[in-house]
């Protein structure tokens, strides 16, 4: 008799644990606003039984509408990886050839590099109506969408010029996976992380080689390229860990992808990420909790903020670290928003066909934000930041940015010497 005879069940992405209870359908932001998406249950476990039988049951048009927000997975009482079933099916069966639009949205690093060189022009162009109209009609990127501005200097360039040399002075070290967003659009966040880490006595190094984590590549149909990138990232991380530096990030989606999805979506060995890749907020919170680090805050710092739980933060389950860290700041008046999707889902909301869905999904969140009457919205996700800033009057900050502005740098530094 087989030793494991019916002691447990094994199926890809826990497919067969689905009890068809339909709880996931309550939490799908897309199915809630459009009838043309068949919902997580049907697109996921129900459809998968058919796709296993015959690949021709793969419904590209329908599955493409999945945001991959993973709220279905968070809701599932049986632990079925519903969104992973859908994403795996897209990787496995899609025959769709990505076009210019997908290429533009997917290659955040390449397009980023080109655009940064000409940032003022690019920013002007992407905010200029005729250019937006072209994007809209030819590239099919929605004209209502405010493009994230490109920085005039890449974070990496700034780091090499202004920060690298300093970092060796610190005995304790971490590596920083900054991601495309910090590199091309918002170097400020990277600078703030370095400020905070230096204040608590840590030097920050960059990885030997950092590539886009692959989130936009996978969702735009470039899985093979994503796998190549992933292998490079993992190799760099292994080297970093071997040299005694854990890796920190400031973006949820990159973290979730590299930590929780590389293995089963792209079949990349990501043990190093599972064990040593952390959101910076989690890393810092743990140090404070264990008494290894002390924070001193500016006495004049006063702010009312609300926290938005990004979908991938919800899936990571790490909200508590970011919120606990922010709540440590004495001058913070903290409001917790209901956890719901803002609608952007990375590059999803940039696509012309998704724009109305995207905005409709975000409506209840935008309303809550406006009603909260806060100085800032805090979220750990960069694309949520774009979406919320475009759709509300709020200015959105990463918790690390809040920390950077709230700490008394000199005092903190002194406390941690």
């Amino acid at each position: 008799m087989a030793e494991n005879l019916q002691l447990y069940s094994i199926s890809e992405n826990e497919l067969e644990k689905c009890l068809k209870c339909s709880i996931c359908t309550v939490y799908c932001p897309v199915a809630g606003v459009t009838p043309f998406y068949p919902g997580p249950k049907h697109a996921g476990p129900d459809g998968e039984r058919y796709r296993i039988k015959d690949a021709s049951f793969f419904d590209e048009k329908a599955l493409k509408m999945c945001l991959n927000c993973k709220r279905c997975e968070v809701a599932c009482p049986e632990g079925v990886h519903i969104a992973d079933i859908i994403q795996s099916a897209r990787i496995k069966y899609s025959k769709h050839k990505p076009g210019l639009r997908e290429f533009t949205l997917a290659n955040t690093d390449l397009v980023g590099s080109i655009t940064t060189l000409a940032a003022p022009v690019a920013n002007f162009a992407t905010s200029f109506s005729p250019v937006k109209a072209t994007l809209d009609t030819i590239v099919k990127i929605d004209k209502h969408r405010t493009f994230p501005a490109y920085a005039s200097q890449k974070f990496e360039t700034w780091y090499k010029k202004h920060a690298a040399a300093e970092q060796d002075k610190y005995e304790k070290q971490v590596s920083y996976f900054h991601g495309c967003y910090v590199n091309y659009n918002y170097p400020q966040l990277g600078k703030e992380l370095i400020k905070v880490m230096n204040a608590i006595g840590y030097g920050v190094k960059l990885l030997d080689k950092e590539k886009c984590c692959g989130v936009p590549l996978v969702s735009n149909g470039f899985a093979t390229q994503a796998k190549k990138h992933g292998e490079i990232n993992m190799a760099s991380m292994r080297k970093s860990v071997a040299e005694g530096r854990p890796i920190l990030t400031t973006g949820t989606s990159c973290t979730l992808m590299m930590r929780n999805e590389y293995d089963h979506l792209l079949h990349i060995d990501n043990k190093v990420a599972q064990e040593h890749l952390l959101l910076a907020t989690r890393f810092i919170y743990k140090l404070v909790e264990e008494g290894k680090v002390k924070l001193a805050f500016r006495e004049d710092y006063k702010k009312r903020v609300c926290y938005h739980t990004a979908c991938h933060m919800e899936r990571l389950g790490w909200t508590i670290y970011s919120t606990s860290l922010v709540k440590m700041i004495p001058g913070i008046d903290f409001v917790m928003l209901d956890s719901m999707c803002c609608g952007i889902a990375g590059t999803y909301g940039f696509k012309k066909e998704n724009y109305p869905i995207s905005q409709k999904i975000g409506e209840p969140l935008f309303k809550q934000i406006e009603e909260a009457k806060v100085d800032n919205v805090i979220t750990d996700c960069e694309t949520c930041k774009w979406q919320i800033e475009m759709s509300t009057s709020a200015k959105v900050l990463n918790p690390i940015s809040v920390l950077a502005e709230a700490i008394d740098y000199e005092k903190t530094k002194a406390l941690n010497q």
Partner: protein, 536 residues
């Protein structure tokens, strides 16, 4: 009962609504005979609905029973054409495991070829590539033209075509006796199993095609047909584990066929002699489950860790020709008895033995005998005339957002477009696991004699999926309330029955996710809805 039926005098009455009975009724009707089919419950309630659904290549019988093997492969090729909508042509493997005698393989292949069955020895590595779920320790593999066939669809297609040729159908009517005068069977006495009402029907010839129950029918006629009831149990797994049939290349034994059918996989079967009195309520025992799982995991190790949806059992109607207790070396050959020459009882024919694969041939043989008796000279055309749904007209396959349509095409072939899909409601799903729409429910009720949820399940697969009826059964009951013009209380009782019938298959495998599912179903139907109030 329809008054016309008792008034009418038929050329032929066929007893039994399985594949053989339906096939015989169709054949008789196609040859111009006025035909009545009588079934005591629903079509496919007996062994027809309780087997692997394997489109045998005949390879399994090649070594031990060449005649059966030849019949199988011939019928296999015929069914691929005339019943294409019921068939999946995925081929099968006969694997040799380290503990098996690889020497058997040569004999096996030789016997297959002698019977006219394509049998290609392939490299074990190639076998693993073709069928990744196969036991990786295999040392030999032979590829044969096995496939799978949906016995429910097959039978209903025969019924539909028989009706198209003028046959009458009488379900839920049980034969309580035969009308015999002067050494001649003139017809049958009937009881309506729904109302208890008694009636009769008359014909020149009565054909006994009642499967294992045929032995009881023969007894009513005062003749003896000794049948050998051999129970076979099977397990259904929650999704397709394999995409090719997997068999063991050895002397046929327990649980050595793994068949992918629709979106599930079936392992079977055991074989145990059972008393004839027990054949109406077959339950799968824990010992049988153990045998099926252990042996199944030898064919495809993944079965050890795959969720099991349900267990079921059928009874093979084998004609006892010796005292072999295993029931396996018995010839599965077709037996057609002319009781006039055999027992001096005119107007009575028994068709038995055989198997699902040879139902059409059995029907042909029986019909030939009937025609000879009635002096009708018309050739059998069932080997070439496609069943309804299998006509060659290709159905255009729609693309996006139309899973349900794809499932319907699978089930109804060329008839899929005649299923109501004119608006959103007709297209809406009742059963999500198996993609059954409101339109398909209506079609099954109006065109396929589905009057209860269990009948609806046999026509459409409603409630046969992962959740075993968790939401769909109540949705379907609601739709049927309106379509069938059934009283609400009868519909509720039918639903209560249906849920209990689903449980019969679940409790023998009630552990893991299946037990979780059972609790959820009970909480919904009994806790939330109070369905137990309607249980008989």
């Amino acid at each position: 009962m329809n008054a016309d039926i008792s008034k009418k005098h038929y050329d032929v009455i066929v007893i039994g609504g399985g594949a053989t009975g339906a096939g015989t009724a169709r054949d008789c009707a196609m040859r111009g005979l006025s035909t009545l089919l009588i079934e005591r419950y629903d079509f496919t309630t007996g062994a027809t609905g309780r087997n692997h659904g394997l489109l045998h290549s005949g390879a399994r019988y090649a070594v031990t029973d060449k005649e059966s093997a030849t019949e199988c492969i011939e019928e296999n090729m015929i069914l691929r054409k005339v019943a294409r909508h019921c068939v999946e042509e995925h081929d099968g493997l006969f694997i040799t495991l380290p503990e098996d005698d690889l020497g058997y393989q040569a004999k096996f292949v030789e016997s297959c070829l002698a019977a006219g069955i394509r049998a290609d020895i392939i490299d074990p590595e190639e076998a693993k590539r073709l069928e990744p779920s196969v036991n990786p320790t295999l040392i030999g593999a032979v590829r044969v033209p096995d496939g799978s066939i949906d016995p429910f669809r097959l039978t209903i297609s025969n019924v539909l075509d028989a009706e198209r040729h003028g046959a009458d159908m009488l379900t839920y009517h049980e034969v309580t006796g035969l009308i015999i005068e002067n050494g001649r069977v003139l017809g049958v006495n009937l009881r309506n199993n729904l109302t208890g009402e008694q009636s009769e029907a008359r014909a020149d010839i009565t054909v006994n095609a009642a499967g294992i129950w045929g032995t009881l029918i023969a007894k009513m006629a005062g003749v003896t047909v000794n049948m050998f009831p051999a129970k076979g149990s099977l397990l259904v797994f929650s999704h397709r584990v394999n995409n090719m049939v997997i068999n063991r290349c050895r002397k046929p034994a327990n649980a050595d066929i793994l068949v992918p059918g629709d979106v599930i996989t079936v392992i079977g079967t055991t074989s145990d002699r059972v008393p004839i009195e027990t054949v109406d309520d077959m339950r799968v025992t824990p010992e049988e489950v153990e045998v099926l799982l252990t042996e199944g995991a030898q064919l495809a190790p993944a079965l050890a860790t795959t969720r099991i949806l349900r267990a079921y059992a059928g009874v093979r109607p084998l004609v006892a020709s010796d005292n072999d207790p295993s029931g396996r070396s018995i010839s599965r050959g077709i037996v057609c008895l002319d009781h006039e020459t055999r027992d001096g009882l005119a107007g009575f024919v028994t068709i038995t033995g055989g198997k699902l694969m040879t139902y059409r041939l059995m029907a042909e043989i029986a019909t030939n005998m009937v025609c000879k008796k009635l002096n009708v000279d018309k050739k059998c055309e069932t080997a070439t005339t496609p069943l309804p749904g299998a006509e060659t007209t290709p159905v255009e396959k729609p693309k996006s957002h139309m899973y349900a349509f794809n499932a319907k095409v699978g089930r109804h072939g060329t008839y899929a477009p005649s299923i109501d899909s004119h608006d959103e409601i007709a297209n809406s799903l009742v059963c999500e696991c198996e993609e059954v729409t409101v339109g398909e429910v209506k079609y099954a009720v109006e065109k396929q004699h589905a009057g209860t949820l269990t009948q609806l399940r046999r026509r459409t697969r409603m409630g046969m999926g992962t959740c075993q009826g968790e939401l769909c059964a109540l949705r379907a009951a609601g739709v049927m309330c309106n379509v069938c013009k059934k009283s609400v209380d009868d519909s509720a009782a039918d639903l209560a029955d249906f849920i209990n019938e689903r449980w019969k298959g679940m409790y023998p495998v009630g552990w893991g996710s299946t037990l979780n599912e059972a609790q959820l179903i009970s909480n919904i139907y009994q806790g939330l809805c109070g369905l137990d109030n309607f249980a008989k």
